[in-house]
Symmetry: C2
Amino acid sequence: MSPSPVIEDTLKTIYHLQQEAGPPVGTSAIADRLDKAQATVTSTLDRLEDQELITREPYQGCELTDKGRTVAVEVLRHHRLLETYLADHLDYPWEQVHEEADRLEHHISEEFERRLAETLENPRRDPHGDPIPGEDLEPPNQDPMTPLSACEVGDRVVITRVSDRNEDDLAYLADVGITPGTAVHIVDVAPFGMITLDVDGTEQAIPEEVATSIRVTSLNDVDDSVSVDHRGDA
Amino acid sequence: MSPSPVIEDTLKTIYHLQQEAGPPVGTSAIADRLDKAQATVTSTLDRLEDQELITREPYQGCELTDKGRTVAVEVLRHHRLLETYLADHLDYPWEQVHEEADRLEHHISEEFERRLAETLENPRRDPHGDPIPGEDLEPPNQDPMTPLSACEVGDRVVITRVSDRNEDDLAYLADVGITPGTAVHIVDVAPFGMITLDVDGTEQAIPEEVATSIRVTSLNDVDDSVSVDHRGDA
DNA sequence: GTATTAAATTAGGGTAGGCTAAATTATGAC
DNA sequence: GTCATAATTTAGCCTACCCTAATTTAATAC
Ligand SMILES: [Mn+2]
Ligand SMILES: [Mn+2]
Ligand SMILES: [Mn+2]
Ligand SMILES: [Mn+2]
């Protein structure tokens, strides 16, 4: 049987948490992300273990098996190809692609995936700057990412990734022109974390909370994996 | 709560059966179409009745309410828009669109539906020649349809609809050029039902079974709801 | 080492959606 | 009218997911 949406979402969440903090991944961290009760996650993990998608130490947490990681990466590929397609071919606004992709990622066929990739000419990054896993389903490299919140006054950087989680923040950032590929210049860092940027000649202030979810690369050592202005719009 | 795939598929099946034979629709007819046990359908119909999507007479069968019909037509709109999009924009082969659309129809948002319709410029018919319900979700008109099996030698007709059910038959028909919009000429009707057609100068023989699932319009009284050659390929 | 506390699991219960096998009901043949 | 048959429902069982409340375990403070 092919994995259900619940199984796929749980694997995807474990994958993200492993990348953020490494294994083992705790039950409540998963429950928080999925907005489910802890007991619900415990019983889901039982099924994942039966299917050899994770290994588990009672009361200690879990870790993806190779099989589990491959399923997670496949879902991630679906998600990011869909986001890219929705934005590029169906004219979806930047901030709306995540929600639609998060549902459809569980329901498209392999044929659909192939045709998306082909039509898009095998894109490497989604609209938020996140790397799209290849057909081989190898986990994408974690490229070096500096949070915007760690920048100092005077730095010139290029936006490389913007977290796709909060729809309102994304709408705001798109509105002021802060999207992957945009070059910016840090004008001011206030004591409580407000960061002021120069974006195409206009100054924009951003709360630290939001700045944490924005990743940048210094313009001094440009990383060719992200092209400047690969999507040039508002 | 928005209806589950099982609820939607059951409503869609009742809708089709009502159009073919009129209400009341029996439990086993639904079970046959959905490839489920009769008892499974009985309990699904219980839920449909609770939700006021059907009315039911014990042991007699069921009928869609207005609410139930609207849900069925909405799913039908999703299905046919998706089929059209897959064929026209993702280069799906004719015979593969049905299966993919049959899954995705339950998972796209209203936003996705709108953007499909817009990108396709509000198409009236899907790749099989079936009418696509409008945004208003009125049931599409049943246009007069003669089965190809009822034609006589010498008739000149235009293919208007081809049942989307059998993938192998569809692949064959596409291969020999029998698709909606094609004008053909009946050359021979053999006693056991084999029908020979002239398609663009080439003769093609078709078993009666298949001919039953092909609908045509006489070239004498052309129905403007179907344009000749609106998809001109193999 | 013991007490506190947070995390995790277990216990118990609910709904949707599946099944088979056993009743029940309607219907057409005679 | 009775009987056989087919359609339908009921009974009883299962799994996947979901929850809250109670319990158990691990980790930390002291
Ligand atoms: Mn895939
Ligand atoms: Mn994304
Ligand atoms: Mn179809
Ligand atoms: Mn819709």
